[in-house]
Structures are given as C-alpha cells and as structure tokens.
C-alpha cells in the first residue's frame, strides 16, 4: 500500500488505523458487540463500549519549500490518536501500545510507515484528559506528526 496523492489525508488516517488494528489487541476482543469497533476514525456519535481508540486528522502545514518551478510539496501532517479507557491502568497501557506500534513500524519493509510514504515520525505530545468521578472515562490524547512528499 502506498500513499494516494489524490486522497492523502484520509489515506494517511486509514493507514494509521490499519497499523494500530494489526498491532493492538482489543481488551474486549471476546465481549465487544459485533456492531461496534475498537478503533474508529471519528469520535463516536452513538453509545459505545469503552475502551476505544479514535484517530483524527489534526491539521497540516507545509514542511519546506520545494524550490522554483517545482510542484512537489513537502507537507507535515499531525494526527491525533486518543485512547479512551475505563481506568488509569488501561489508559496508560493503550497509550503505550499506540506509541510503540507507531514507533516500531516505521522501517518495516512494505508494511511500515516509511514504505507507505509517511516520513519523519514525530511524537509531539500526550495530554491526559479525564472526566470527573471514578466512573468517568479517562483518556490520553496523543499527537504525532509525519512528513510526506506529494508529487
């Protein structure tokens, strides 16, 4: 699979989703309802069973200029991956698994992010956002960025 220049935004998000689906096991793999997903590419609009992971496009900038008379663009795309969990332990475990899945799958031949067309993996931040109360959903918002060359 290689980055599709005509659809690179959603293509990048879908690549990250596929990478996480391959590398992270759903803690509710045996009990999650069949019409619900563990990894989503939007915040859920209906009731879901936690834990879940959401992946969103979080904006883009031009990383560098490509020179006179060149139509190539080097862009930097930020991706927000959020681990929504039932407790602190699960929140930390999912965040760690997400980071490690992306970090260790860059140079893998054919299935890695570099071969796909996403370069310069950067871990930008992790922000914990917890809802009030012991039953409140706990989450870690992780932001990553990738550079890409669009010809």
């Amino acid at each position: 699979m290689v980055l599709d220049v005509d659809d690179y935004i959603s293509d990048s998000v879908l690549f990250v989703r596929s990478l996480l689906r391959t590398n992270i096991t759903d803690p509710l793999v045996l009990t999650r309802p069949s019409d619900e997903k563990f990894i989503l590419t939007a915040y859920p609009s209906r009731t879901v069973t936690y834990p879940i992971i959401t992946i969103l496009d979080s904006g883009e900038n031009q990383a560098e200029l490509s020179g006179q008379r060149s139509q190539t663009s080097f862009n930097n795309m930020q991706i927000e991956i959020r681990a929504w969990a039932r407790n602190e332990k699960e929140k930390a475990q999912l965040a760690t698994q997400i980071f490690n899945a992306l970090r260790t799958n860059q140079t893998t031949t054919t299935t890695g992010s570099i071969d796909f067309g996403l370069y310069d993996f950067t871990f930008m931040s992790r922000v914990p956002v917890d809802e009030a109360g012991s039953k409140g959903i706990k989450s870690n918002v992780l932001t990553f960025s990738y550079n890409m060359e669009l010809n």
Partner: protein, 125 residues
C-alpha cells in the same frame, strides 16, 4: 636579490563583528519569542471569542481570561491556561465536543510564527 615578503591577516575585528552579530541575533530572536507569546495569546482569545474558525466558547469569560502567553525559557513561547476545565474543553470529552482553540491556532499561525523569527534575524544581520 629577493626580498622577504610577508602577509599578516588579523581576523580579530572580523571575529568581534561576528560575535556581536551572533549576540544581537540571540537577543533579537528572544525578543521575537516574547512577541510570538503575546500574538498567540491574542489569537487563542480571539478563537475562544468566536472570531476565528472555531465556535465561540465564552460563558463567564474565565477561560478566555486565563489564557496567558509566556516565555518560560530562552527561545520558547508557551500559551497556557491553568483552569482544570481547559483541557476537557480543548480536547472534548464523551459529553463535550472538542474546541480545538489552542491547536487550531498553532496550525493556522505556524508560518506567521516562523516569519516573526526570520524578520528579527534579518534585522540583526
């Protein structure tokens, strides 16, 4: 009869000039970061007020008032709010839609931030 020919080059003045330029650039860039902090603080406040792409998020005005731009160390600017509900508003929860005021402000103004630094370097060299 050949005469001895010697050439001496003294780069002391040139080095002094380069050192003073380097010092001026450092001071200038540091000043640029103070300007960036003020500018970005204003931009986040404008975003919260509904004057940018994000929807208005002003109820009592406490969040908007709490946004502060600082330069905690050299060559860095930080825009922050110390309110406990600032992060849930920015990132959203299961009940609140994410505001994205801080992050969108950064994405929108990245080139402007770079131009603040470039302009200051140009002024000093």
């Amino acid at each position: 009869m050949a005469k001895n020919l010697s050439i001496s080059v003294d780069v002391g003045l040139a080095l002094m000039f380069l050192k003073s330029t380097e010092k001026n650039v450092e001071i200038g860039v540091d000043k640029a970061f103070s300007e960036i902090a003020m500018f970005m603080e204003g931009e986040v406040k404008q975003s919260l007020s509904g004057n940018r792409a994000e929807p208005k998020r002003v109820d009592t005005g406490h969040l908007r008032q709490s946004v502060k731009g600082t330069t905690p160390k050299r060559f860095s600017a930080k825009i922050e709010s110390n309110l406990p509900y600032a992060a849930p508003i920015e990132y959203g929860t299961t009940k609140i839609k994410p505001g994205r005021h801080f992050r969108n402000t950064l994405t929108r103004n990245k080139s402007k931030v770079i131009s603040y630094i470039n302009d200051e370097i140009k002024k000093q060299t």
